[in-house]
């Protein structure tokens, strides 16, 4: 049941729980309880909105920054990750296997702002060995949604 609820919520956090209950053959009360429990247990961590900022007038630049670091004794990568994710302009921080250690996703107003963050704040951290910054030019698909594509029903109106 949890998995089914989450599958729906992941796609549409605004779904009407009464409707969801009908589709899952359950009751609204049970579904609402389960959702509340999952919020409490932080299985559900938030309800965000997927925005195509390109269609707005606000300027935003998103960068992916590969960061190589020296893990610290007793704390591994956690404390350095924390120092990075506490910056509000940092959207995501992932620990990555392979050629580098942390992947940092950063959103800024301009290229200059992003590069200032990398050179002034990120690179100067003691444990950071090197960084490589990639700017996102276009988002085709985000969080499972193809950006800006409206699907049209091309089937014939009536077939037997």
């Amino acid at each position: 049941m949890r998995e089914q609820i989450l599958t729906f919520l992941e796609k549409n956090s605004k779904i009407d729980l009464a409707e969801l209950a009908i589709m899952l053959g359950s009751s609204e009360e049970i579904i609402a309880n389960e959702v509340a429990k999952m919020e409490q247990e932080q299985v559900i961590c938030g309800y965000h909105t997927l925005i195509d900022w390109e269609k707005t007038s606000s300027e935003k630049v998103t960068a992916l920054i590969e960061v190589r670091v020296t893990p610290q004794r007793g704390q591994g990568f956690d404390s350095i990750a924390e120092r990075i994710y506490n910056y509000p302009e940092v959207q995501s921080v992932y620990l990555i296997s392979g050629a580098y250690d942390l992947l940092v996703i950063l959103q800024g107003k301009s290229l200059r702002e992003v590069s200032a963050f990398v050179s002034d704040k990120l690179s100067t951290l003691d444990t950071v060995l090197s960084t490589a910054t990639h700017f996102i030019l276009k988002k085709y698909k985000d969080y499972g949604t193809i950006m800006g594509k409206k699907s049209k029903d091309e089937r014939m109106l009536v077939t037997l």
Partner: protein, 391 residues
């Protein structure tokens, strides 16, 4: 000039919903619940395999019966999903959709005057295919009180010494009815006793929502008397690829392959390569789509109950078949007014046989959003009818 056409062809009625369809297509802002095909796109990995086969230049004919690789996958699939054993080399024929299989079966099996029993309401192809093959169609009226299942008694009533084939179209289009194992066992008994054959059209076999589908050929004594039709259209959302298959005893399949060879040559090559991938890697897609149809089915049944539209609960395919007798309109009148006044297209039950009178076929191969909008309009329409009738 002489009449260029045969009397036989001229005697066949064109599909009854042509006029209805023409009006609907001219209208703006129509919401249709009249479509008999999935709303999902074919899963990407299957499409990708089709594209790859084109890139590889696999654009030639395949063997008449279909790619050996595909027949082997079909054989494994039928074993896994329907507990059926068919030899890929001699007992499986890949056809252009399930519908070609219907035509082949009738042409290969009927002698002039042989009677074919067709339970109605049902898909529209069986009857004309029987007529074109010089057979005599004999319809059996299925009843709502039996949830549109075929009963032993209904079957026995229509059997004569000319009866040769029973068409068994379950899960059913348009009613959504399914035949459970015990229902099939009762039918099988009669089939064996009366020495008949069954054409079992199982194109919706993956879409059952209560119990797993049961193939009649898997019952004792029935394999040798059954032709099983299935395909990729409904299960894998591949209607436009035109790919199905026909399975049965090799003596029967050999004769059907002959007709297929001369009339068709082979099913589309690109589709066949794509279908190999559908059977190898598509089980999860099928389950995902089934789950989604089931959710919509529950939603629709709930909404009908709420607005007071009578409907038995169907457990197969993607149709519901509500009863509209209480409104004092025929199916045609109801559907036409619903189209004109609320711009919602549904199919009158009579398109599937005279006994569909008093019913509508509503498809739930639509997004919940589309269903919701359509249901709002249907509810408004019903309220209006009730007012008119002074209820």
């Amino acid at each position: 000039m002489r009449n260029p056409l045969s009397e036989k062809v001229m005697s066949i009625e064109p599909s009854g919903i042509r006029k209805f369809f023409d009006i609907a297509s001219e209208m703006e802002e129509v919401i249709s619940l009249g479509v008999g095909e999935p709303d999902f796109d074919t899963p990407w990995h299957i499409r990708d395999e089709g594209i790859y086969s084109l890139e590889q230049g696999r654009t030639f004919y395949t063997s008449n019966a279909g790619l050996k690789e595909l027949r082997e996958e079909i054989s494994r699939y039928l074993k896994r999903r329907c507990h059926l054993d068919y030899d890929p080399l001699q007992e499986i024929l890949v056809t252009v959709g399930g519908s070609e299989g219907i035509d082949l079966a009738m042409r290969a099996m009927l002698n002039p005057g042989d009677e074919v029993l067709i339970p109605q309401p049902c898909y529209v192809s069986y009857l004309p295919c029987v007529v074109l093959a010089d057979g005599v169609p004999v319809t059996i009226e299925l009843k709502e009180e039996n949830e549109f299942r075929l009963t032993k008694e209904e079957l026995l009533e229509k059997i004569t010494d000319k009866t040769k084939i029973l068409v068994l179209p379950f899960p059913n289009n348009p009613t959504g009815a399914v035949m459970r194992r015990e229902d099939l066992e009762a039918i099988a008994e009669v089939i064996i006793e009366k020495d008949l054959f069954v054409l079992s059209d199982e194109i919706y076999s993956e879409l059952t929502y209560q119990e797993e589908h049961v193939s009649i050929a898997s019952l004792p004594g029935m394999w040798e008397r059954t032709l099983t039709i299935n395909g990729f259209s409904k299960s894998h959302a591949m209607t436009g690829w035109r790919l199905g298959y026909l399975c049965g005893p090799k003596e029967m399949i050999a004769q059907m392959t002959k007709i297929h060879q001369f009339a068709i040559m082979c099913a589309p090559t690109t589709s066949q390569y794509a279908a190999v991938d559908a059977l190898r890697c598509g089980d999860e897609d099928v389950a995902r789509m089934r789950e989604s149809y089931d959710q919509r089915r529950r939603f629709l049944m709930h909404e009908f109950a709420r607005m007071g539209l009578k409907c038995f609960e169907p457990f197969g395919a993607f149709y519901v078949f509500p009863c509209i007798k209480e409104f004092g309109l025929t199916s045609d009148e109801f559907a036409m007014r619903l189209l004109e006044e609320e711009h919602v297209a549904v199919v009158p039950g009579t398109a599937f046989g005279p006994c569909g009178e008093g019913f509508l076929r509503i498809s739930y191969a639509y997004s919940i959003e589309a269903l919701k909008t359509a249901l709002e309009r249907i509810e408004r329409f019903i309220r209006k009818l009730k007012q008119e009738n002074g209820d």
